[in-house]
Each structure stands twice: as C-alpha cells, then as structure tokens.
Amino acid sequence: MLGEGIIQGLLETARNFFGSYVEKDRLTTVQFPEERRPLPEASRNFPFLLYDGTDPDAGLRCVSCQICEKECPPRCIHIEKSKDKKPDFVGKMQAYPAVFDIDVSVCMSCQICVEVCPFDAIRMDTEFELSTTDRFGSLLYTKRELAKSNEYYRKIHPTEAAECDARRAKDVEDTKAKAAAAAAAAAAKAAQAKDPAAAPPPASSASTNGAAAPARSEVKENQ
C-alpha cells in the first residue's frame, strides 16, 4: 500500500536517531583534536631517515646507494653522495649522503623506498600533522629534517623495529665472527708456517649473513 515503505524508512531513521545515543558503534566519528585514535602499527605517511645513537650526522644509516632514488615512483628523492667515507655500524667504510632531500609535496607514501632499502636506513613515519603555509620550500625535507632516531622508530613501529634491530645485531655479530675467524685463520696460517703439521680446519662461520647478503650484492650490481 502506498506509504508503507515510507513509514518503514521513517522508523529506521528514528531507530538510528535514538540508537546513536545508546550504541557506541553507531557513531564512528571521532572528535579529532581532543580525541585521537591510536594509529595502527602499520600506519605510514612520509619517509624518514634512521640514525643510530644520538648524533644524526654520525649515526645516519644511509650509505647513499641511491637505490631508493632510482626506484621511487614519483622520483621525489634527491641524493648526492659524499666524497669521503665513514665507517658504518659494522665498521665497513661507506659513503654517506651529502644531500638527501625528499619533496613530500610529491611523495605519495607508497613505501617502495623502504622496501628496496638494503640498509634499513629509510622508514615510514606516522606523523601526519604537517601543514605549512609555504607551498614548496617547507615541504622539501632535507637530511636534517628527515633524520630521526632509532628510539623514535621503536616507538612508532615496535614490531618492525625489533626485527630490524635483531637483523642488525646479527650483522654485527657475523662481522665480528668473520673478523675473528679471519684473525684465527691468519693466526693459524702463521702457526702453520711455523708448524705445518697442526693445521686447523678452514673457518666456516663466515658464510651466513642472512637476508642482507644478497641485497648487498645487488647493490653492487646496480652501481
């Protein structure tokens, strides 16, 4: 009969009207500045550069391999390699970025730079209140603005950071083991030279380097 569906609809809106005062899950709106939803751990916004320790200049993990620059779909990363080198966390001499700019007005938060970085040097931030009054200049983030500490990373992405830390700790250990093995081998060689009869078996600990190893070789290939 004419009007039946209309009355049904009216009842439904009335139910929602009163329901919105009673049932919490009807109101999905959050009163933003006062009330903030916790961001999920996977949340991502714009990239930042990680550094270890307290000094952003000394501890910056980036070795300016420029993979992210090349892979970035909108090409918003600009890197200039340093002339000199400095030791990285395992003690290997590596270049560092003299200039590392990200134009976040161009960046589309796709996270591909994070995925391709073999050095765990670039990660996604969760900070989203980034408005500026200047259209271009303040949205061009330089190395200094981008550098954030590992502690910050642990705070915003705890699970991911723990994995990353474990991987790096293993790297350090492997390097140490490698160095120790190399030292042992050298010592053995020296001993062998003295006494060829007592030769130890060759060191086997230097082979495992986990996920970082193939990535590293890839870096060389690309360069």
């Binding site: 209309i6 929602n16 999905t28 999920p40 892979e71 796709c110």
Partner: protein, 379 residues
Amino acid sequence: MSNDLLEVDPIAGQGEIMEVSMGPHHPSTHGVFRMDVRLEGEKVVRLKPVFGYLHRNHEKIAEHGAYLAAIPYTDRLDYLCSMTNNWGYCLAVEKLAGITVPERAEYIRVIVAELTRFQNHAGLVGFLLQDMGASGTPLMYAFREREKVLDLFESLSGARMMCNYMRFGGLRVDATAAWLDEVRRLLPALPRFLDEFENLLRANEILMARTQGTGRLSRELAVSAGVTGPMLRASGVNYDVRKVDKYGIYDRFDFRVPLGDHGDVYDRYMMRILEMRETVKILEQALRGIPEGPIMDPKVRLRGLRPKAGEAYGRIESPKGELGFFLISDGTTNPYRYRVRPPSMINLTILEDMCLGQNIADVVVTLGSVDIVLGEVDR
C-alpha cells in the same frame, strides 16, 4: 524508454532546445565530469559525456617506471578500490612473467578484494541515494560501514585508501592472526547493516518510482558495449570474471551471481545490495580456509623484474566491472606498453543511450548507477 508518466507530450519536437553543461563543477557528477546535455523542457534529447579533466597519462608514467613502480600508481586509478587495482596489475605481471602466488597470499587477496567490493558497493549505493536527494542518510550509513573496512585496510597495509599492498608473486606484508580475527569480528556487522539499509529503502515508494524503468539498458546493447560488472548483470547477462576466469582461487568458494531482468537503475542498485551479501559469504569461507604459509614467491625479483619479451592481458572482476591490464614486455625492466582497461570509462559508453528521452533528474540517477570513479575514467 518511454516516460510512462507523461504519455502525452503535445509539444514534443516544437519546444526550444536548451543546452546545459552539467559539470565539471556539479555536485552529482562524482568528480570532475561533464555532460553536455540538450534539453527540451526537462527532457534530454542529446547527451555527450566529456571527461579527461583528471587525465595524468597514467599509462605513460607506468611505461617510464619499473614494473614495481606502477603498483602505487594503480592505487590511484579507482581510488576507492586500491586493493583490486593492485590485484589486477599483479595478475597481469604474473601472467607475463609466469609467476605463481603462494596459497596464503591468494586467500588474503580474496579477503581484501571482497572487503573492497563491499565498501565500494556500500559507498555507491549511498551516493546513488544521495543523487536521488536523500540528504545523506543512506550515504552516512554506508560510510559508517566503509569506515570499519578502511580501518582494517589501514592496520593491514598502513594506508586507508592507497594501500599499495599486493606485489607480483604475493603480498607486501602478511596478515597477522589478530588482523584476521578483526575481520571475523567485523563480518556479523555487515549483514546487519544491509538489513538496515533494506529497511530504510527497499520498499520505499519514492525510490522505486525514481529508479524502476529509469535508465534501461538492453541485454544486447550491454554486451555489445562491453559493459561489465554489476551493470551488465543487472541487464541479465551472466558474466562474472570471478566465475569465468576463476582467477586466484575463486573456484574454491561457493557464491552466487545475482542477475537482474530489467536492466534499469533499480536492478543495478539491487545487484549491488545482493552482491554485498554474496561477498560476506565469500569472506566467511575465505576466513575459514586460510592456510599458514609464505606470502611471497621467494624467486620473484621485485626490483629489476625483467620478463621475457611478450605480452599478457590479465583481468579481474573489480567492483566496477572487468578491470584489465595489458602489458607488453620488451625484455627490459620497464613495460613497453602498459594499458589499463578501465571499467568505469567503458561503462560510460552507453550513458547517452540510457539517458535519451529521460528527465534531467534521471540523468543524475543513471550516472550514479553506472558507478564511475574519475580517477579511473581519466587516468
């Protein structure tokens, strides 16, 4: 396509023709879209869709980048359904390079794609009613549910709309057990929302009067014009790429494809409602069957993928219709030719045929029922 309420039209053919340019700034064109409409009174005598305002030459951009770099750009095609866009592209690359996908990844793909379908259909129905002048109530109900789905996407992929989640050969990150539990918790709420929606609107006389018999599309024209998705099925053609191609693991799920008989706006609206119910069924099955295992084919090189020279066309059933990606490889790291088959744009081909002789108010409703997203139409 006669207007049954105005059977007698004594001044037909004598009236003055008024040209109205609907859009690009118009509240109901779903973005920057223009229709050059010629009106005789309020009756449409000609309608030419004009678009390209959002054109950014997506295909050229993708041809300039590596295979990996195109994935985040596919998010921006149909920006409401980034997950299915990712899937379409990844499927094409997988065909091109002969990559297999682990089972767990296939299940997660189905889950996120069906969630996408749900939120897209819910949003579309809301927008359609908004176009009919329902002052936002259905839209807000739809958005309330969509919000929950987007929250899930955010906690899975890190972003609500631009998910950039799938990779050729699998997925970027695994879904945690907690996430799957979240989806399980959400599932019962979805049919409840659909019931509410039906209460609000299904028997509503105004809705029926506005949509039944409006924007009719015949079966033959729909097939010839390559219309796909719910719009095609509303015209009574049983063609769902999920059933036809059985891509991914869709042959493992038990779901039905609703079909309409009239091909009008009401049927298109109901197709979406019924498909949402089927989607919930697929989700339930997928969540029951999801195995443990890897989510990425370890042999795949995401960076610097160099497929053998050749070409491949991969297509999926996106919420809007058949979303296809056509790739030609010349053996280098960049696709030689990258082409999207945008369902929204092709579904627009017959917009004029559907609108001729109708009221200007029906144009808006008919356009709303096509379900276009200008990001995809214009690319």
